[in-house]
Symmetry: D2
Subunit: 358 residues, 4 copies
């Protein structure tokens, strides 16, 4: 009964079958095979324009390569202070970007507000060359807090960014969950809203280890092949990455898987919202949520065998709960039941503060 | 009928089965799972000592991380001029190593002779800090030319290197082929001979995309986790890398696969050696060879549907021929027959020079 | 009448004379000359222990080389959010440090409080290897706000840092001003309090372009020569750097110059503090201060020909005022008189907020 | 009696006077002063077109910044195997260039022949993205061997380079000596022949520590300011760099100084050429030469107090001899006389091989 991360989930059966199916005889290496060409075509269909696609095995690779591609070494990437690139990638953007700088912005629910971006940008540009140059904005869709940017929010952010010549990167490690939640076209939430480069995630939603960097303006993609190669992220047996992503986007599987994991989180959140001494930080739209509860609930859940990340003190705990394409609704219901059983039945006296994660 | 690269081969059935088998339910991410622990234990058994093992998806990642780990940014890595790190990784060692320098040494059959190393090292150390510091030796076993270092050759190279405080890295992208060819213990050809850090290859010999960096002195491995993480080479669903390598080394599968591919190359080389106007650069001990032949033979082979890398001029061609764990002996025999049929039946008038690869 | 920066001041006559004096005939290059040996000995005397000293031409070079020397690429340097390394060096620490990260801490008057450091460090260490590693603390003495750390404050910060295995760097671009203000021994405010590596500034206090990185534990200095060389910061005609610093520290010139510039700032601050509608952010102890005043005063000062950095809105201005070793007391008095003449004679109705610098 | 390096010479009196003269009162920092504007205008006059000029304190900084500016991290810089950038800068180009690669070409007398360049380039471009991309050519004028490229040689090299989209960098650490030797216009030997970016040296020819990176196409210079800043190579008191270079190029001083040092080398070389058992590697046109002589001569010179770099074995020595703007003709004559006195009077039996430098 694992609610730790969508990374702990297995591979979706359809994707595993595709890997098995592609394992026939010899095939050209490094992406010169037919499956890789096929997946490249599919992405152009999905995004309703000719795009450049580069497959890589991990989300950190996708993000770091994408950011380095659009930011000079003396550039600043503005991002949410709690974004994955800022807190979980051990400095991959700084490494790939030859010493670029991430500047973390505050924002409710893991989202950057347009006003916050505009205010932050005021600080740039008058003190050159002493100060680094604001060069890119990175937003996470769905966010690390389980929320989702609306189309108009993305458009507003992109307009501000482009007005100042910043490129816009979208960390789409959970892109499927966002698209499923919004019920929108992938093009609308990306390039039509102004996104320049996308980390399109597969691993957290049923792949084995497969992500794609999508460059919407093909003319800007020229040197990406070299970046990927010298980072050791070009698979020689590329067909096995391609097969995963091909199966993933085939017949809408990616959205189907995401809809399930989103639904499981909604079911979980709705259940927990009715437990008096549990507080959700935000009502999740994607497949993860942060919640506060008294230690009694935490101990009961742990005893019942539920696993998840948590941070606490003597009285309260904050937990990050994540569902996956493979989450069993029965497990969700057991979780809610266990929490309710351990509840004091009363609202906590004072509103709970967000607990620091580390 | 593909003789292009062992990278074009499929995944070995036993390894694919292991991937399928490990795909059960949830498992901790980033290597905290039981399969990863198991594979770490197995490597300690194979190498007859406690070793630190770090799984990565590609050989370039393994090499570049390993070299950066043992070489400061102002360090020089001495390697063969035709080594993969020098010619095929688009500068990955320089990137991961923050600007280290590779210095290519000449050497017959892709191997560095101890005297060559000793002579090269004479040039270092007297012009500091203007000159970079000789910091590591990298040797490839089996070599990029299909030859194999003998144990005493490795020991001699390592003695010279250690005497000058250089670390020794072994690029073992085809380590299995070398061990199979030598019939030696893995420990004998590595740390017992003086090797400090090994890129242990799986991808070219039946894996999907799985390599291991083996650090023989665990005390020197401390910061490797950070290097791998910030390079985007830590798999979140690590069990799928671990399962591959676990199956790969289980019950000697790796050596069994390598023995087959070596045998196929021997069969091919023996056949070609009897064709008068074909010249082998070296008699291969591992699974690849370079051969020269007149253009008539090249055209015949191409027409017959054989694929391989080749470089040529108006008269002659050099081909790199590679066999794999899955190479069919019938294909080998067909290759030899096609070559023989197109042969002029005479030795070429002048000895053929080695043709430049690019 | 320049109050913009101590960087706009000329070279002190004693230092210029030393440059002229050293310009006799040929001398060994790259620091093998007698003057460089002499300056190295002098630093060991000043700091009352054997230290390693590396001369470089700029403060940014000193800081970036020093931080890269004590921080791995996956390391975090904790520093004040308004520190020079974070805001004015265009990412030099990130560049020299191969992608390290600066994390800016808040702190009144440009100083980091021990509690703030302790709280920030709580966030590190439990999320490895996803999170970067807290590796160094950098403090600026005198601070960018014109304040000075007391010895006990430095000792407290260093104790916290060392307890977590962080190295401590001191940006001493205005080290002379701090030592002069405190009237302490240079050793007391550095290594005896726990500082590991110091950027010892000369340029802002009368040199032409000469700084020294002082490594207090000589055993930790081994590779610094390579870092400096490959950064292009080794002067071939090193005697001209050495002569500057030799003259600078000879017979206490450095402290004499600093005492003058500190006194000029005190005189300025005391004068301005008596103007009702001028607000000093902090009472300066070194040679710079930030002040707020109504636009009427700003316009009057500008008209009178005073130059300084300033940021403002429709009503108020914040100015950074800096004095130098060569500041004329008559200019200070003229500045105060001009401000007073333009004053409204009343305290401003609401307390002025600190204006954002850019 | 120092023939070690032009770096061991003092500062030319005119340049020292300019430094003293500029040391008047306050001046804007970081290049916003009038002297810096003046020197920028002067360079445009010297090169007969609008150029972008960036002053830096060392030749290594100039070279590394220039190469990084025109080469991507996955780029190869082709250069002479014995060039300063390849052998003496401790990897500065690799560091500033984020892991670019230098590939050293052979060439008589420190010069690359057009045919050699053309042959080397044949190896590039067909193996992308595995292979790094040939991106720049760097030539040294005057060369490290004391020879000088003719205008037609430079034009031929540039034509080949541009045909393959390589940028051309000229390391002009001894640019003055080359221009003086050729008696040509500075524009003819640089941009008119196809050079894109020049390291214009001052330090070896009478400056204290001042070089200029000249970008001939101003449109390509945009981001150079950031590169220089984050490398710590922007002087805050820039006027002292500018004053040096202003005096250096004023009224042809640079060429006058260079003519003297060239003449001193010619006098030395002509003298040595008449000593039977002394062999000049090349007849120098600039201010340095490599010569072989028997150990008896070496011992005699050393005993007489002459200093120079030398490398030897039991029988022979190779010496690098360098003259400077300040070399005394009487010292040259003494050198020749001392060599002649120690000569055996006979030609050596076998031709002397070039001795390895380190």
């Amino acid at each position: 009964m694992n609610f730790s991360s969508d990374n702990t989930a297995p591979v979706a059966p359809e994707i595993l079958e595709a890997i098995v199916r592609v394992n026939e005889g010899f095939a050209p290496g490094y992406g010169a095979d037919e499956w890789t060409s096929a997946v490249e075509r599919r992405f152009s269909e999905i995004f309703e324009r000719e795009v450049a696609v580069f497959l890589v095995p991990t989300g950190t690779a996708a993000n770091a390569l994408a950011l380095a591609h659009v930011t000079p070494p003396w550039g600043v990437v503005l991002c949410h202070a709690d974004s994955h690139i800022a807190t979980d990638e051990c400095g991959a953007p700084e490494f790939f970007g030859a010493g670029l700088k991430l500047v973390g912005l505050a924002g409710d629910g893991g989202k950057i507000a347009p006003d916050t971006l505009a205010a932050a940008l005021k600080g740039y540009g008058e003190h050159r060359p002493h100060q680094m140059v604001a060069s890119a904005l990175s937003i996470t869709q769905a966010s690390e807090a389980g929320t989702v940017y609306r189309l108009d929010e993305i458009a507003a952010l992109c307009a501000i960014a482009h007005d100042r010549s910043l490129a816009v990167h979208m960390d789409g490690a959970r892109f499927a969950n966002a698209v499923a939640a919004l019920g929108c076209r992938p093009a609308d939430v990306t390039w039509r809203a102004g996104v320049d480069i996308l980390s399109f995630g597969g691993t957290k939603n049923g792949c084995f280890g497969a992500e794609a960097v999508v460059v919407f303006d093909k003319a800007r993609a020229a040197s990406f092949l070299y970046r990927r190669q010298r980072a050791g992220h070009t698979f020689s047996k590329m067909r096995f990455l391609s097969a995963q992503l091909d199966a993933y986007v085939n017949k809408g599987l990616w959205l189907e898987l995401a809809r399930h994991s989103n639904a499981m989180m909604r079911r979980l959140a709705n259940g927990l919202a009715r437990v008096p001494d549990i507080e959700l930080h935000h009502m999740p739209r994607a497949n993860l949520a942060f919640v506060n509860f008294p230690n009694a609930i935490w101990r009961a859940l742990e005893k019942a065998g539920f696993t998840f990340y948590h941070w606490g003190n003597a009285h309260w705990h904050t937990a990050r709960l994540v569902t996956a394409f493979s989450t069993d609704p029965a497990d969700v219901d057991r979780f809610v039941a266990a929490a309710r059983a351990a509840s004091s039945g009363r609202k906590p006296k004072r509103p709970m503060a967000f607990l620091p994660r580390f």
